[in-house]
């Protein structure tokens, strides 16, 4: 099948879209494999290949992610770019491929962006403080199955940044809320629940992400379908953190 890729190329402060026609693709290829084909061709032609982040290629590491025709990770729901197969496109389609764009995600090169801001949000409080060796028996605290399931659903976040890329506010609240919810609904996470919400949101804001206004663009873009209700939970925890005396 044929596709025309209009790809963002950037090596300094600014970049531009460059058009690459590809005419011998297989519908069984993944989107990233189409980029591989293009890159091998560019290398042989003596040009620099398109830089893009990718690693596991099975939708779990969260390293890949590009905007394809203005949609994070492309048109298929709940799918990362590496698992998006060309059979979901029409022969002859023209696809615009751009990096994630947000102030706290500066472009490094071509389609590669710097997402280290996510690590800093986690470092600010996205953990349970339990040094190795200090844990009680795993069955010491039973966890109701629905709570465990809710925690898992939120913990499935792969930190790819699609939520930020899709958000009209450039907000990382879905990412932040996913971690706060994962840890906040488990009994183990209760002691730090409110300070965690406070510290993570403070770091989120300090990093220059926009504020969430419940626009709802993030969940449909999320390859793991992290629900919006996680943000409601984070909101409630943050309000509680600043209004009750329980956890200062």
């Amino acid at each position: 099948m044929k596709l025309t890729l209009r790809i963002w190329r950037q090596s300094g402060a600014t970049g531009r879209l460059v058009e690459y026609p590809l005419d011998d693709l297989s519908p069984d290829m993944s989107f990233l494999e189409a980029l591989d084909v293009l890159n091998e061709r560019l290398v042989l032609a003596g040009e620099e290949p398109v830089a893009f982040d990718h690693d596991c290629r099975e939708g779990i590491c969260g390293m890949c992610g590009v905007m394809i025709n203005g949609v994070a990770h492309g048109p298929q729901k709940a799918t990362t770019a590496c698992q998006l197969h060309l059979r979901h496109f029409e022969d002859g389609d023209v696809l615009t491929v751009e990096p994630w764009r947000a102030e706290p995600f500066p472009v490094v090169r071509d389609l590669v962006v710097d997402r280290s801001a996510f690590d800093r949000i986690v470092a600010a409080g996205g953990y349970i403080s339990v040094p190795a060796g200090s844990a009680p028996d795993a069955h010491a605290t039973p966890v109701p199955k629905p709570d465990a399931d809710t925690a898992f659903e939120a913990a499935a976040c792969i930190g790819c940044g699609a939520c930020v890329a899709a958000c009209p506010n450039g907000s990382a609240m879905l990412f932040t809320a996913a971690k706060a919810t994962h840890l906040g609904v488990l009994p183990q996470g209760q002691p730090e629940r409110y300070s965690r919400a406070r510290d993570m949101v403070a770091e989120h804001d300090a990093l220059g992400f926009g504020g969430c206004t419940n626009a709802g663009e993030c969940t449909p873009a999320c390859p793991k379908g992290i629900p919006l209700i996680t943000i409601a939970r984070l909101n409630a925890d943050l309000l509680r953190a600043h209004t009750s005396r329980s956890d200062r």
Partner: protein, 211 residues
């Protein structure tokens, strides 16, 4: 407590909470206003008497002060969040909105339209300078004079629909912000009721049902 309120307000979620709370206050006022308007269907005397009663019990000025405070806070928080979003968000060459409802995407401009309308509405039916009749206290007559004109009806209709969209997303958004989520259908239902209530008056006058 004061210190913590300031800290809370500094966070983006705090600003959003202020918008939710002030939005809720404004929404309650809108609902009360809409119900009060329905007095027009009970005849000229009823509506004018309702207006006099509101003044007599002394709620008008306190409500006005409260509303003004809510509007200012609502606006300032919205402005700050918008400015922040402008800095934070990326600009794509090719952008497609995936899911966000029309109502969600038009909150900011919808809010501006509603604010402009409120200014006109106050000059029209509160101060009276833009009203074709413009007699203080003669509420019913003023209203009837207004809605003889198609362009006034149109202006009110546009504004009320903008308000409806704003409420539709706002009600759901406020609950989300305050940590209790409701179905989006609730927002839609409330918005439809408010719009229908408000629009019943101009259309009743325009069609001659009320005169």
């Amino acid at each position: 407590m004061v210190v913590d309120t300031i800290r809370l307000y500094r966070s983006t979620i705090g600003k959003k909470a202020v918008m939710a709370v002030t939005g809720a206050a404004l929404f309650l006022y809108v609902v009360a206003h809409m119900i009060g308007n329905l007095a027009v269907f009970a005849g000229p005397d009823a509506l004018d008497a309702y207006g006099r009663w509101l003044r007599d019990i002394g709620v008008v000025w306190p409500v006005r002060v409260g509303l003004l405070a809510a509007v200012v806070l609502h606006f300032v928080a919205a402005y700050q969040l918008t400015a922040r979003a402008r800095r934070a968000r990326g600009r794509y060459r090719h952008r497609r909105v995936v899911q966000g409802s029309y109502a969600a995407r038009t909150m900011r401009w919808g809010g501006v339209i509603i604010a402009l309308f409120v200014v006109y509405h106050l000059l029209d039916l509160t101060v009276g300078v833009l009203n074709p009749n413009g007699v203080p206290g003669a509420i019913h007559a003023n209203v009837v004079a207004d809605f003889q004109h198609w362009y006034v009806v149109l202006a009110y209709t546009v504004a009320v629909l903008a308000l409806g969209f704003h409420i539709r997303h706002g009600v759901w958004s406020a609950t989300q912000t305050l940590g209790v989520t409701t179905s989006r259908v609730v927002g839609l239902g409330v918005a439809v009721v408010v719009c229908a209530g408000f629009l019943s008056v101009p259309f009743a006058v325009f069609t001659g049902l009320v005169s």
